[in-house]
Amino acid sequence: MADILKMFKVITKALFGKTACGMYPVKPAKVYPNTRGHIEIEKEKCILCTICDKRCPTHAIHVDREGHQWAIDRYKCIYCGRCVEVCPKKCLHMANSYSAPHPKKELETFDVPPVQTKKAEETK
């Protein structure tokens, strides 16, 4: 008899207690400050040194010095955070939301302002 009463206690708790589900997408997904979501770049600080290109373990980052472009392949990136650690100007950050799905695998390019313009602005 005690076992049946215990069973009712478990059932009542499951039926009327707080749900354990995260209720996504009705409620937004739970993220923490440390969550590794996707890589973001502050274009103005980048000096195109290509260290992140050389140190990325999956070769997801492509830096074009002559064309002043910094590109990342979001599907090759494994969100390890190596590029964030090695960047000398600290212009790469790990954001905590996941990158959105895309219909095609293509590089996402950012145009980096050339270094001479920045130096000219500083001397003005």
Partner: protein, 359 residues
């Protein structure tokens, strides 16, 4: 002489988390022998050591398996550190053992859920994974990822946990342990589970030793065998006693895992209490030019890494011998003589992690 039929078990089967193929030779519903066949997830990860530098290989080592990923990273980093004679700071060692025990709890809870699902007890499966979600939340809060953590590197750890977070986690872990206690009682004492799992898949102590069983499979048969007794990392400062059962059947293997979760909670509270201050990593210079066999304790048993460096930034050889490969021989012994209906439960009771086995 009865007729023999061959029934293929796997590679797709509802109880298996990963594909393995076993040909079960049966005679009138009793399994006479089993013939394994692997290779469905062979990715050739060992050969990647020629194409990725030894520091990048940490990422590859972590991705050998999704369930036991953190401890693969720790074992690899430990091997490289022994080769290059790097003395990593004590705080990094305690952080690594803290995360390792958390990974052990997460892996055992996953297995307990799968085992409950294998006998049809779906609500217990859901409750086990509900408790596991809280553990994964702790991982996400401290390392940033739920499955692959990226927290170890050659020379220490990449992330730190500050002291207030540690004290808060100590309280959270006590609450999770209370929540888990009611589940543990079901696994140990429930009548249906005990009837399903007792008395099947028996391996005696001498057979477990001669067939090379490791991990909970060996400890459930009476062997006191735990690689953490080697006192690697922070385990020389933590005290624990390996959990040994004597029955050798599926219920004994379950009880060993259930009790190991309590032991892991206790080890984590010890490592939070004894956590020293200091740095979390040291600078790595030079190239590995030696060889070493690194052994650590995964949730499934003893894993052995053979790492050989030749003075360049690429390794000469990286070989992993995972515990499920060592438990294949006891599995074939367990399956001989069992009923066909018990075969899924027996295969699941060694905790097969096939992506580890085949790398």
């Amino acid at each position: 002489m009865a007729e023999r039929t061959i029934i293929p078990f796997g590679p797709q089967h509802p109880v298996l988390p990963e594909p393995i193929h076993l040909d079960l030779v049966i005679e009138d519903e009793k399994v006479v022998e089993a013939i394994p066949n692997i290779g469905f997830i062979h990715r050739g990860l060992e050969l990647l050591c020629k194409k990725k530098t030894f520091e990048d290989m940490t990422f590859v080592a972590e991705r050998i398996c999704g369930i036991c990923s953190f401890i693969h990273g720790v074992g690899y980093c430990q091997g490289i550190e022994q080769i290059m004679k790097l003395d990593i700071p004590p705080r990094a060692q305690f952080l690594r053992s803290f995360w390792s025990e958390l990974a052990r709890i997460q892996s055992h809870l996953l297995w307990l859920g799968l085992a409950a699902d294998a006998i049809g007890f779906e609500s217990l499966f859901m409750h086990s994974w509900r408790v596991r979600e809280k553990i994964l939340d702790i991982f996400e809060e401290t390392t940033g990822g739920r499955v692959i953590f990226g927290a170890s590197k050659v020379g220490g750890t990449r992330k730190d946990i500050n002291n207030e977070t540690l004290q808060r986690l100590a309280k959270t872990l006590k609450e999770i342990e209370e929540d888990y206690r009611s589940l543990a009682k079901v696994f140990e004492q429930d009548y249906t589970i005990a009837t399903r799992w007792s008395g099947i898949g028996i391996v005696s102590k001498e057979e477990a030793h001669s067939l090379g069983a490791v991990g909970p499979c060996a400890r459930a048969s009476g062997l006191r065998q735990d690689t953490r007794l080697l006192k690697y990392g922070a385990y020389e400062h933590l005290d624990f006693e390996p959990i040994v059962e004597t029955a050798g059947d599926c219920q004994a293997r379950t009880v060993v895992r259930v009790k190991e979760i309590f032991q892991a909670f206790d080890l984590m509270q010890q490592s939070i209490a004894k956590m020293p201050e200091g740095e979390i990593d040291i600078k790595v210079t030079g190239m590995p030019h030696d060889e070493f066999f690194s052994r650590v304790e995964q949730p499934r048993g003893e894993v052995v890494y053979y790492i050989k460096g030749n003075g360049t930034k690429y390794l000469e050889r990286f070989r992993v011998r995972t515990p499920t490969f060592a438990n294949l021989a006891p599995l074939l012994k367990m399956l001989a003589g069992c009923d066909l209906a018990d075969a899924p439960a027996i295969v699941l009771s060694i905790d097969p992690c096939i992506s580890c086995t085949e790398r």
